[in-house]
Symmetry: C2
Subunit: 397 residues, 2 copies
Amino acid sequence: MRRHNLAAVIGHVHRSGPTSRAELTQTLGLNRSTIGALVDELSARGLVAERSDRARRTPGRPSYLVTVRTDTVAVLAVVLGVDTVTVATVAPGGEILAEDHVALTTDEDRSFDRVLTTIARSCKKLAVALPHGTMVTGMGVAVPGIVRRQDGLVHFAPNLGWRDVPLGARLRTRMRSRMGLDVPVACRNDAGLGALAEHARGIGAGVANLVYLHAEVGVGGGIVVDGALLEGAAGYGGEVGHMRVNPDGAPCRCGSRGCWETEVGEDALVALAGRRPGGRAVVEEVLRAVVAGEPSATRAVNTVARWLGIGVANLINCFNPDMVVLGGLFADVMEHAGPSVIAQMRTGLVTPAHLDVALVTPTLGRHSVLLGAAEVALEPVLSDPACLPVQDIASLR
Amino acid sequence: MRRHNLAAVIGHVHRSGPTSRAELTQTLGLNRSTIGALVDELSARGLVAERSDRARRTPGRPSYLVTVRTDTVAVLAVVLGVDTVTVATVAPGGEILAEDHVALTTDEDRSFDRVLTTIARSCKKLAVALPHGTMVTGMGVAVPGIVRRQDGLVHFAPNLGWRDVPLGARLRTRMRSRMGLDVPVACRNDAGLGALAEHARGIGAGVANLVYLHAEVGVGGGIVVDGALLEGAAGYGGEVGHMRVNPDGAPCRCGSRGCWETEVGEDALVALAGRRPGGRAVVEEVLRAVVAGEPSATRAVNTVARWLGIGVANLINCFNPDMVVLGGLFADVMEHAGPSVIAQMRTGLVTPAHLDVALVTPTLGRHSVLLGAAEVALEPVLSDPACLPVQDIASLR
């Protein structure tokens, strides 16, 4: 019970920012003296501090705000991209303390063993730079592929060329041998983590049911059902990019054909607009051509918009979300052909009542996946603040 | 806390059947004296009884089993079908006490007001026949359509010809005025209730993540995510029949085209086999023709099998279930063309790890939806046994 209440207080301050004891009392439905004792315990464990609320300048005695400390606990958040590995140290409250980026330019750079070395090196660099006394309590890794929740086995990450590699286990060993850091390593699909972050502290804060979609070459999906990320039996849930929407469509990297991402991904837009694939730069060229009124580019974005509307309607019928978050290329398509998306979506909804859904773009920008990785890494400490593992980063110096 | 524990004990006995105090102690992780006190309280409230376990014939002192009583509390469970209204009285434990069927033969029979009258009349008949002293505590209604959870507004029930009718509110009023019974009326989509029942006491008992599919003319879906039925923002979740899988496909009753149910429903099978629609009888004729080796019937069932595999793969990619339950026509297709379904499904799965999924048929047979309706009606009593609403059916006699 006490553990549950400690978690409720630190969880609230972690997600919502500095909060007065009075607000905590009201929001969490606990009495004043209980909140006082919980804040005192979190404070003694170094997780929160109280500071006076000068901004409010209320008359009478000063008001204090409970706020997370960012100098006692931190986690390592890793985002594996196709071109870049990003590593960051993140404190409770979602504050990014420091970031490191390493470019992956060759296939050799993307090989499993090389990526492990790259991650471990960046982690050590950032951990050593943490304020003296900061404990690193966990690690979260975002993977552009299909990951087994239990142990971080990556079944398939097409853009890295990985199949069945034991990422979680090998990272943990590597961190232990390289920097004497033995902490849980949570590996998850990147889009699922984007959904988690937008739900924790972005556009989806407080929304119980949301579908988060992020498109680049592939389409990633993360789905929140009744407040929790849908993971399914083994953590493979949310793979909406391979929803087959066009059985006569183009072959997909996954071995099937007519998957949603073959119709709505960057490659589809670029090819429909008569360009050769060339990453984000060519996508932006196509979008500029749309603005300039080039007919083939306009047709291309409208075709992609149609398929986007079809897929979004399918997902709304399945999940009945309060909100659909459209990121990456999908945000661009909404900007340039939003009415086509909505018209197509409307014909596919089984009830007009579904039109209550909010179609929005993510607000955490390029940090959503990184903050999601931090969220899963922080989870053990936030759910049981009284059981912090004890380590001493100072020994690495 | 006590309320939570009372609910845990009655919930376990309700789902798992007669259980000894020792098993309750072990399963629920509570100590012996706590279990004793909880059983005594449930017993005093008339919800459980203890009987000696003669079947076990263990030596030494007799063992007693805690079992639900079926003579103190009952709910009304209603299934609205296209041709029939079924009403039953159901006791905790899922025991069907009595059933009443009323055929709907004309469109007039299916009109909203007539159906209300039919339900109320059957309910009164069954309630009066309950053992003296049995309290009716709730009502659950299964609807072949899209229902708002909050108040039982039916947005769309194509086979009944209903649009935006306030079923929940009107039924409650009707029951109150007709038989002085003022109880909560929970209206839900029928396939969702089928999923709930198979999860509570059928093939899916103890399975955390399952997709339940039932096909007749339409395809209904009910999805259990992490132990709970996916309802979404307003209760419209699980409408997988209108997942658009073939954008160039046939028009659907919903106004769209190429919805999954236009490719895999009874009408598709019958038309592909060169027959005219004629309900279940013609479907069975086609299935007999498959067994007899008629080429057009064989091609028809294989085509439907292919589309079934495509849709099931989409759902497995989305939900990563432990189990997919295939009922109605889908059970027939598995029986007659299972390998085609599985071959097609396999090409659509994003990871071979998804092949761990169990493809099964429902075990509660024609009662699954009825028992699901009873489940939602019983929920208030089972989640808070100490707060039984007090009514006296005896006054109706």
